[in-house]
């Protein structure tokens, strides 16, 4: 068979728009997920049961339901309650809610790695909870949290491909679009696979160099999740 990469080249504007949308979605939802995750982690490690249990329930729900089902629930079920949101917004909400649960677990792992004596010392010095969490505990977390955290962020970039199912015009949707116009599935999907691979490799390189600067521990984070 012959390869018709020219057909892809003719539709490059769709692909470029798709890449930009994918990057935009990731760029918005990753910071939201990190912030939400830190908040959930604070609830999760709280000594009060009424604060801890909602966080546990949230984390377990997000970790045990496939993202696609979550996206469908937000996209198809919310309009029945009069809430109409676009696919793009749905995507950002779902991705950040999903990532937040994983970030919360990572942060919790980091906080647990900090020696108990530091909490006691901070309390003994009369520091307030908010202050010592912010100024003593969290700054130490970078090195523990960074390797698995970058892994989750990469996962979120990849998972954004699921949004093609709710007609968000990101990279995978662009590919289906081009495939529908050109009937060249091999070239189209090979191209977007290469683009995704490029994005991931670039992201991992960036994360790796930042990690080296932070002097982070290299745990075997690769097995965290996909």
């Amino acid at each position: 068979m012959e390869f018709d990469f020219l057909a892809i080249w003719d539709h490059r504007d769709i692909l470029i728009a798709g890449v930009l949308t994918t990057l935009l979605i990731s760029l918005i939802s990753i910071p939201i997920a990190i912030i939400l995750g830190a908040g959930t982690c604070l609830l999760r490690i709280s000594p009060k049961r009424t604060m801890r249990w909602p966080a546990v329930a949230y984390i377990e729900l997000m970790r045990n339901i496939p993202l696609l089902i979550l996206i469908f629930m937000v996209f198809y079920a919310l309009p029945f309650y009069g809430i109409r949101i676009s696919g793009f917004t749905t995507g950002i909400i779902c991705l950040s809610a999903y990532g937040a649960a994983y970030f919360a677990e990572i942060f919790r792992g980091g906080v647990e790695a900090v020696p108990k004596g530091q909490f006691e010392a901070s309390r003994a010095l009369g520091l307030k909870y908010g202050f010592y969490m912010r100024r003593v505990i969290f700054p130490q977390l970078y090195s523990y949290v960074f390797p698995p955290g970058s892994n989750i962020a990469l996962t979120m970039i990849k998972e954004s491909s699921l949004l093609s199912m709710i007609t968000v015009t990101e990279l995978t949707y662009a590919a289906s679009d081009i495939n529908g116009r050109t009937f060249a599935p091999v070239e189209t999907f090979a191209t977007i696979a290469l683009i995704y691979w490029g994005i991931s490799t670039l992201f991992l390189k960036l994360a790796g160099s930042t990690q080296a600067r932070l002097g982070a521990h290299d745990s075997n984070s690769a097995i965290a999740l996909r």
């Binding site: 045990n64 469908f72 629930m73 491909s161 699921l162 995978t172 490799t201």
Partner: protein, 220 residues
């Protein structure tokens, strides 16, 4: 809108068939993943650099591209490329299995790093042939130490099977889509679906945690 679970519940039979299908696909894909992962692990430790390079490139590609794209490639691109015409079921299972394989290889590598190098040397010194060193000495120990992680990997596999609904496999997600298109009740159907996924994944990951705790207890 008021929820009408009582009307939906008698019609959820396709969901349970879909659930069984999801579990079936998950088990087969996991087995494929373990075979592929073991092969990748052995390729990574090969003496010939090109074999190592192929294994590393494969792992990087699988981990660098979305599972959905891999499934689409398997479904749309494999037949025109190789002339092998496999149906959606085989394509889906293979795609998920080959995806899982790259992650299983990472898990096994973690297990292998805990095994002292001396074991290879001792086995070689005893005159065991290469394949026996791997299959009789090294791999049993590796698998024993990573069983909890492999159980977790199974939940990961279950969690990517919904993507197979895009290539017309009637597993749980597809069954629920068909059901809510038929009944116009997405809220009820999707919450039941989510509940089923939650129960499956939570049960398996809880089982994994129990295994992990037990394996820690029996390890010096």
């Amino acid at each position: 809108m008021d929820l009408q679970y009582l009307e939906i519940l008698p019609r959820t039979e396709p969901l349970f068939i879909g659930m069984l299908y999801t579990i079936f696909v998950g088990i087969i894909a996991c087995l494929v993943g373990i075979i592929v992962g073991t092969a990748l692990l052995m390729m990574r430790n090969n003496r010939i650099w090109i074999v190592r390079f192929i294994a590393n490139a494969y792992g990087s590609f699988i981990r660098g591209t979305p599972a959905l794209v891999q499934i689409l490639i398997f479904y749309y691109a494999l037949a025109p490329l190789t002339g092998i015409n496999i149906g959606p079921v085989t394509a889906g299972i293979m795609a998920v299995g080959f995806n899982s394989g790259a992650y299983v290889a990472e898990i096994l590598r973690g297990g292998l790093s805990r095994i002292p190098k001396g074991q290879f040397e001792a086995a070689a010194a005893l005159g065991l042939p290469k394949h026996k060193v791997w299959f009789k000495v090294i791999l049993p120990q590796v698998f024993h130490s990573v069983i909890p992680l492999l159980v977790n990997e199974f939940t990961m596999v279950i969690k990517i099977t919904p993507l197979l609904s895009t290539i017309t496999l009637v597993e749980l997600t597809r069954a629920s889509q068909m059901l809510y298109n038929e009944t116009f009740r997405p809220v009820e159907v999707l919450t039941i679906t989510a509940l089923i996924y939650f129960v499956i994944c939570y049960a398996i990951s809880h089982f994994g945690e129990v295994l992990q705790r037990r394996s820690l207890k029996f390890r010096p």
